[in-house]
Symmetry: C2
Subunit: 311 residues, 2 copies
Amino acid sequence: MIHVYFAAPDAYWAAYREPLRRALDQSGLTYTLSPDRDDPANVDYIVFAPGGPVSDFTPFTRAKAVLGLWAGVESIVGNKTLNIPLARMVDRGLSEGMREWVTGHVLRHHLGMDTHIHGQDGIWREDSVPPLARNRTVGILGLGALGQTCAMALAALNFRVKGWSRNAKNIPGITCHSGEDGLNTVLSAAEILVLLLPQTSATRYIINAQSLARMPKGAVIINPGRGPLIDDQALIAALNTGQLSHATLDVFDVEPLPAEHPFWAHDRVTVTPHIASQTRADTASEMIAENIKRCETGEPLMHIVDRTAGY
Amino acid sequence: MIHVYFAAPDAYWAAYREPLRRALDQSGLTYTLSPDRDDPANVDYIVFAPGGPVSDFTPFTRAKAVLGLWAGVESIVGNKTLNIPLARMVDRGLSEGMREWVTGHVLRHHLGMDTHIHGQDGIWREDSVPPLARNRTVGILGLGALGQTCAMALAALNFRVKGWSRNAKNIPGITCHSGEDGLNTVLSAAEILVLLLPQTSATRYIINAQSLARMPKGAVIINPGRGPLIDDQALIAALNTGQLSHATLDVFDVEPLPAEHPFWAHDRVTVTPHIASQTRADTASEMIAENIKRCETGEPLMHIVDRTAGY
């Protein structure tokens, strides 16, 4: 009998209760599943989301793994009481949603849609024919599961995709760069730059006055990654000078983005309310059940977090 | 020696002169290329665009084919003096541009982007998470070269794509329908409907009060095909009742769309100025040169027009 403890804010239980039971049933495991904290020493697996009841993992002496419900693990990765494997959520719904949002907003900026969405003024702008994607360079910072799926979808539409990651990667159809020089190569070529890096001490403010200055004049930044990747003041300055023509931002240092934040009023900024990608209960539950099954049968966990790297 | 007569409006010559020479040179043919009408009886091939110097093809007694610069041939297909093969333009640039425009606008409506593009009002709309594409049905009327490439790009992003064409087709990954019943099946399922039909007597006003009433409430219509596919008054009525939530239109009965046309002022209509796809001189020139080469070596012309069907 496996005991699964659902340690997430109350609202999650309503959403996950049925999908998670369904997925665990299908996995053929014998289990209990509960959001109630009985004897921590009996818990085998902890399903975790930030803001829930657990911050000290010490009492869970028998637990084999913590299974996060989120892709970003910055709120837990530094927790000194956590000494068992931690898996990030990389669910199908999450990556599909991200791919759709990123492909959509890249195409929006590529095609110059806003001119027409805003400009219903009776003027027939014949000169607004966009170039072909094969002549447009898109940079993607971060080539994890989400970055890769976005890069491949954009490459399938013929965009010239240049990706960057901390460690060298090799992805078919994508020009991959790494290291400091590689970052500069991608920045200086990217007419549209998508941020999909994890939030670590090394990526904080990776988009700053210096990196923005390296980009082609009039470039666009799209951030569905993490708010602290961007130095907001430097971004606003670059938008004001025209160095950047637009920023479409889905994530922020503080969320919800306060109503008085200058992003809302800036006519070169589009704010979306952290909707680029959300974990979907049904697909995420299948991932959790599969990971528990893997652990029980001695297979390696999927999407295990490298605690030194921070993601 | 092959004589190619460039019979298109003057502005085209400036754009096509160099690309077409380059493409013909590369084809290895011995040729002359000119926009001047010398002796029509000497002309072997006529490169044609509407609005140019030729409306009577009778004097071109030796000509082997007319090679159109446009995908739509409604202005020439009924010409009684034309008794030699007519090829439509299906150039790589045309289909790529169309695929990008259609994929972009489908994703725009799928993601509900306009809410965020317009709504920079400080309100964090958390409930605006879109469904996944796998739960969204897109209909495509018209499965020619352009319809197919759009259908396949959307299917690659997981959209449930239902296509319709006059004659039955079979395209991997696409549910294909044909005939009157098939049309109703597609209309009644399509949350987003893309029009890529040719303009013929059978497709005129195919989108009318009756067909609009069959669509799911709140559906979106995207028309990068031909203006007369839609009965404008019926479309506006459906937008006003909320039967349709939006129409994004790139083509119109009269172009440029007159400034006083109600589409401009309608807040559920987006007008784009016939930019979804334009023939690009370099890729189109390669197609023309390849077709001439084929004809000279006894191979069948590509993209030959069926004059009875009208496209």
